[in-house]
Symmetry: C2
Subunit: 333 residues, 2 copies
Amino acid sequence: MAERVRLIDVAREAGTSVSTVSRALNGSDLISPEVVAHVRAVAGQLGYRADKRAQEFKLGRPLTVGVTVPDLANPFFSEVLKGLNAAARAGGYRLLIGESGEDPAEELRLVDELVDYSGALVLCSSRLTRAGLEKALAQPVPVVCINRNVKNAGVVAIDYRVASRLLLEHLTGLGHRRVLYVGGPASSWSDGERRRTLRRTARALDVTLDEVDGGWSGNHGYDAGPAVLHSRATAVITFNDLVGIGLLSWMYDNGVEVPSELSVASYDDIPIAAYSRPPLTSLRNERARLGELAWQQLTKRLGGDAWPAPDLLTPELVMRASTGTARRRARIR
Amino acid sequence: MAERVRLIDVAREAGTSVSTVSRALNGSDLISPEVVAHVRAVAGQLGYRADKRAQEFKLGRPLTVGVTVPDLANPFFSEVLKGLNAAARAGGYRLLIGESGEDPAEELRLVDELVDYSGALVLCSSRLTRAGLEKALAQPVPVVCINRNVKNAGVVAIDYRVASRLLLEHLTGLGHRRVLYVGGPASSWSDGERRRTLRRTARALDVTLDEVDGGWSGNHGYDAGPAVLHSRATAVITFNDLVGIGLLSWMYDNGVEVPSELSVASYDDIPIAAYSRPPLTSLRNERARLGELAWQQLTKRLGGDAWPAPDLLTPELVMRASTGTARRRARIR
DNA sequence: TCCTAGAATGCAAACGATTGCAACCGATCG
DNA sequence: CGATCGGTTGCAATCGTTTGCATTCTAGGA
C-alpha cells in the first residue's frame, strides 16, 4: 500500500512539466519522440498510474453505466449482465450494478443512487411503477429498458408474442386443450406480456387458458403445486424456469408423473433447466445479446442520435422431457 | 435530460457564495439557520444534486469497493454479493463488480482495472495463481479474500474442516465406506481445502476416498457421470450443488437410482438444491454473512487497524433425499 | 546578421466540489 | 467612542488531470 505516484512526481523526476508528461503519456504528437520515450521510461520506473477518477472528472461525463436487476441469483439476469458488461467494457465503460430484490421501491432508490455515478442507466426487467419509471426517465442521463416497453428510452426485449405461440403450439401439438399459466410477480412487465400474448394465442388456437399467480423463485413454483393440481389443466406454463423447477419438485413429492399426467414448460431456458428431473422444456433466448443490444442503443444515443427502434429478440423452443402427451389425469395419490 | 445544476448556480440564485451553499447543504454549524433554510429551498427548487464524482475526488479516497467473482450465475456468489453490498452501502460505499469467468488471467486483468476506481478490493473465491495474488496484494488498496487464505489481507472463509467432517460422518452413518469426491476447478482454493479436509477426515473415519476432476457447472457434473459409475464408490460428494444437480441428472438419464444405488451430497445448498430430484443433501452456509464479514474486516483496516484474524463460518448439514443407505450396487441398465 | 516560421514545451485555467483562513458585521464592554 | 469578540460569510487554494494559449528555441531564408 505505497503512496500514489502523481503526474507531478513523474514531471519532477523527468525534469519537465506536468503538461509534457500528460501529453507524452497520452500520445500527443506535439511532443518530441525522445521526450516521450524518456517520460514513459520514468513513469514506468516510478510505477505511475493515472488517477482514473481525476481523469474522468476532468473529462466530463462519467464512463459508467448503472444497471438494475431484480435478482442477481437468477441466471437470466447474470447472463444479461455478462453481455452488457462485455460490450460496455469494449466501449470503455464500466458497470455499476444494483439489485432491487424484486422491490419497486428499492429499485427507485437504486436508480436515484446510481444516477449520481453513471452516465447512463440500464433497467433490466424493471419492476418500477409507471410513475417510478417516469421519474427514472426524467433523470439527466439516457435510459435503456430491457424487457420493458417505454417511450423516450431505449428498448430491448424478447418477443413474447412469438414465445407464447411457440409454447402453445407445442402443447396443442401434443394434444393439450387446457393450459394453465403460473404467473410471475405482478410488477413484472414481461409477466404481463406473457399473459397477454398467451391469452391471444390461446384464443386463436382454441385452447382454454387458466391463470394463477406464482412468483419468480423455486419456492413460488413449489407452493403453486396444489393450485395447479386443482385446475383441470393438462399442461402448465410457468413464468420462468425457477418456478417451473419448483413446480416439478412438488409434483414429484406428490406422486404426479410428468409428463404423462402433466406437462410443464417455461420461459428462459437457464442452464439448470436441462438438469431438472425431468429436464424442462423451455424457451431459449439470447440473454447476453440483450445486454449487447442495450449497449448498442446506448452508444447511438450517447452519440447524439435519437433512440433507435426497439430491438426484439426471437426465442427458440427447446423441447425436453417435461412435456408430452397427457395419458391420464393427475390426481394426488 | 436537462443541464446539470451546479453549486455555483445555486449560489447565484440564492445570492451567496459557493462556500456558503456547500456548508449549508452539508449541515455545517457555521451558517445561520435562515440562510440554511433559504439555500436548501433554492437548491430544492433548482433540483440541485451534488456531483458525487467531484465530491469524492475532492475528498480523496474513492468510496467504492471493487469485487471479483468467478461466476455471477452461481447463486453462491450472488448471495455473497448481496451481503457485501448491503454492508458496504450502509457504510457509504458502492460495489464495482467484475466477473472473471473462472479464468485466472481474466481475474488479474479485472483486479488491475478495478483498482483504478476502488478504495478497496474484495476477491471472492479468487482463482488467481500465487503470483497473481501477490500482484493483487501489492496494489495500493487493502484486499479482503473470501474463501481463500492469504497473508497480509483480510480473510473470510467457510470452515471446510467442519464441512467435510459433517458430510463424511453423515455418509458413514448411513453405512458408506467408499466415497468419491467430484472435484472443482483446479484454480479453486476451496476445492483444494475440500480435498485436503476430506482426505484427512476420511483417514480418521477409515473411509476410502477416491477423487475425480469435475468443474463448477451442471455440465461438469453431468459429464462426470461415467467416471462416477466406474468408481466403486457408493456415495459421491460433489464440489458444489450445480455439479451435484448435473450428476443427479446423468444418473437419472442412465437409470441409476438415487439414493438406493448411489448417494449424492454437496457443498453450498443453493436454493434450487431443494428442488432437484431427489432433493440434494448439502451444506448450508451463511453466504450473505461472508460478504458482511468481509466488509467489517475492510472497515477495520481502512480505519487504520491491522488485519483482524480470519473469520471462519461454520456450515450446517441439510439432509435431503439424495443420500441414504446403499441397498444395491449401481450398474448401467 | 536579423527576422520569422515552425516545432517543442511550459504556464495557468478549468472540471465541481470542500475547507482553512481572513474579513466583516453588529453588539457588548471598558 | 473605540477595541474586542462571537458569529457569519466569502476568498482562494486544493484534489489530479487535460488543454488552450503563450513562450521559447532552433534553423533556415533574406
